[in-house]
């Protein structure tokens, strides 16, 4: 359990797994063909490098104490809430389109994460959505993701 709280060790483990995956995938591709190196040549070598270095990272940090929370994991909850809201916004793009999905996302950030008043949250959400529409769709002719309603 101590090791699982050690960010360096854990990231090393994840990268080691990635290294193993790259090596396995690279071995299924051609290594050397009649015209020279195949598509598996280069990935195999950086896969080995990735595995070796990540094992080294794990070994260095295995004996160290877990990184104290004071290094700044305190606000991580806010960040994950923001990311979850972003993921929801992306998921809603296909259904609601950018204008509405972005307005909902901005409203959530301002109202619930910054704890600003309903009025301010509404102003940022509505102003931002309209601003994006006018700037990109109207002025710059950049297509924004449209929803089932057509915008």
């Amino acid at each position: 359990m101590r090791l699982l709280r050690n960010g360096e060790f854990l990231s090393g483990a994840v990268l080691a797994a990635l290294g193993v995956f790259i090596i396995i995938e690279a071995r299924q591709l051609e290594y050397l063909g009649p015209d020279g190196p195949g598509p598996g040549f280069f990935p195999l070598w950086y896969g080995i490098g990735l595995l070796g270095l990540s094992v080294l990272l794990m070994a260095i940090h295995a004996r160290q104490a877990p990184v104290p929370a004071s290094r700044g994991w305190a606000g991580t909850g806010r960040t994950f809430a923001t990311w979850a809201a972003l993921a929801a916004c992306v998921a809603l793009l296909k259904v609601l389109g950018f204008i509405v999905a972005f307005a909902l996302f901005a409203f959530f950030l301002v109202r619930f994460l910054y704890r600003e008043s309903f009025g301010k949250a509404f102003a940022v959400a509505a102003g931002g959505a309209v601003g994006f529409y006018l700037l990109f769709d109207v002025a710059l002719n950049v297509t924004l993701p449209a929803g089932v309603l057509g915008f």
């Binding site: 190196p37 990735l50 270095l53 700044g72 806010r78 990311w83 916004c89 992306v90």
Partner: protein, 503 residues
């Protein structure tokens, strides 16, 4: 005479109203994002890159380069007024700039910073103009093995982008190589690391990775806290922003020091403006008659690092434009921008695209003048940006990131990838994995693999082709030397420690 003709041709390009406008937009945006802590030039250029696809490449590169060097001017404002560097290169400016501001000399500190930036920035452009063409001519003799060695040399620069941990930097670089390798192999049409997804057959777009890792990673990290810092007041009026004659006299050597150190460090790929500003500050302190006052608010402590980080921009353009080697996250994004516009920075760049190269050089002269004119009288106005609440700014950055990525491919899959790379960028920041090596690996990975495979095709699989040619052997030797340098330094430190404990 031929060179003079090219410079004039460059000014003819840069002085067209259309390019002047884009140059102004670039330096203006650069100043603003330099002022805003938490949003760097790399993230901004990545976000705006998709919007430049409809522009002609010369105007686009003039604007994006304007953002790059403009941010160096703006970065000092937050260092001086908030003790928070607007971007990493302005860290050193905090030492004396903030102290000057606390003593009621914020205006003089901001003025010195702008003047030093102008002098050194112009010096950097002159250096770029003089050094780039002969270097490019030399590099014209390169073939695939030399290119592979050059890419290795570029990747070895990861040592200088490493931050605290070399292992983490190398790991980040290898992840960058892996991401670059996703998609269809150009030589055999085999699909690699696509997880059976048709959306990944074309690989992952650079814009998605850059915006995700740099912009969203930074913003997600900034979302952790809600409070904003206290801004020191900026004196109003041009008169209060001008340094005294004594200040300028004290900064004579600092202007020269910053210009020279910044340019030379800039030419060395991977060193970057933060290192340049630290070195010039160190030199300034070492040669000063009053070194004990450094850190307590001396004007030369602002002039030297600010000059260095601006001269570095001109220097950093040399390896980028002549060899195709980016020395930092921002120049890596500029390299990708060139590739996306169908241009290939390298030895042929100046020869094949003289209008673009000389137009860019000339625009950098003009941009520096614009920045001086903009910065001196408008600093109080720019400082108001610092009062923009985070709850207005951050949703806007998320929105522009989504629009930027979607506008490139029209694919919602890419927007999902953006969110995933944003999370990766945040995790890298939290776990102290540097993001610049990932971008370096991603940008150079494809060219490196191609050069290696072409070299081995030339030699029918014989690896000695890479070391039997003098130039490629030299560059590979240098790359190994650079990669091993930290080990030598560490061994030496251990030896000194052992000797000290033994005596």
């Amino acid at each position: 005479m031929e060179g003079f003709g090219y410079v004039m041709q460059g000014f003819a390009v840069a002085l067209t109203p259309y390019n002047l406008l884009w140059c102004f937009i670039g330096v203006f945006l650069g100043t603003m994002i330099g002022i805003l802590p938490g949003l760097g030039p790399a993230a901004t250029i990545a976000m705006l890159l998709p919007l430049t696809f409809q522009m002609n490449p010369t105007s686009a590169v003039i604007m994006l380069a304007g953002i790059y060097y403009g941010s160096k001017y703006g970065g000092s404002t937050t260092s001086i007024l908030l003790n928070v560097p607007g971007e990493s290169a302005s860290v050193v400016t905090c030492f004396d700039g903030y102290q000057m501001a606390r003593q009621g000399r914020a205006g003089a500190a901001l003025g010195i910073s702008a003047i030093a930036s102008f002098i050194a920035g112009t010096f950097g452009v002159v250096g770029l103009m003089l050094v780039a063409p002969p270097l490019a001519k030399f590099a014209l003799s390169f073939s695939s093995p030399e290119y592979f060695a050059l890419m290795c040399l570029g990747l070895a620069m990861v040592v200088l982008l490493a931050g605290k941990s070399m292992i983490k930097a190398l790991l980040a670089m290898m992840v960058g190589l892996w991401i670059a390798g996703m998609g269809t192999d150009l030589f055999t049409s085999a699909s690699r690391f696509t997880f059976g997804s048709a959306d990944l057959l074309d690989g992952i777009d650079f814009v998605v990775v850059a915006i995700g890792v740099f912009a969203l990673g930074e913003v997600l990290s900034n979302m952790e806290k809600r409070e904003s810092a206290l801004v020191l007041p900026v004196p109003k009026g041009l008169r209060n922003l001008l340094p005294t004659l004594q200040d300028l006299k004290d900064c004579r050597f600092a202007f020269l020091n910053g210009s020279l150190v910044g340019f030379v460090i800039g030419v060395l790929p991977g060193a970057g403006s933060t290192i340049a500003s630290f070195i010039s500050y160190g030199i300034e302190k070492a040669v000063s008659k009053r070194p004990e006052k450094f850190g307590h608010g001396v004007p030369e402590g602002v002039a030297a690092p600010e000059g260095a980080n601006n001269a570095e921009t001109g220097g950093a353009m040399v390896p980028l434009l002549t060899l195709g080697i980016p020395g930092s996250g921002t120049t890596a994004i500029l390299l990708a921008a060139f590739i996306l516009w169908g241009l290939r920075p390298g030895p042929l760049m100046i020869q094949d695209n003289p209008t673009l190269f000389w137009g860019l050089v000339a625009s950098m002269y003009i941009g520096n003048v614009m920045l001086l004119v903009l910065n001196l009288p408008l600093i109080p106005l720019f400082a108001q940006i610092l009062r923009l609440p985070a709850y207005v700014l951050y949703p806007f950055i998320f929105g522009i990131s989504i629009v930027g990525v979607y506008s490139v491919s029209g694919s919602l899959f890419d927007v999902w990838m953006l969110a995933i790379f944003g999370l990766l960028g945040y995790a890298m920041l939290k776990l102290e994995f540097p993001s610049a090596p990932l971008i370096l690996g991603f940008v150079l990975g494809d060219s490196m693999e191609r050069a290696l495979r072409q070299s081995l095709m030339m030699s029918q699989g014989d690896l000695t082709i890479l070391v039997s040619r003098p130039m490629s052997a030299t560059m590979l030797f240098l790359a190994v030397l650079i990669l091993l340098a930290p080990l030598f330094r560490r061994a030496n430190a251990l030896r000194v420690k052992a000797l000290a404990e033994g005596s």
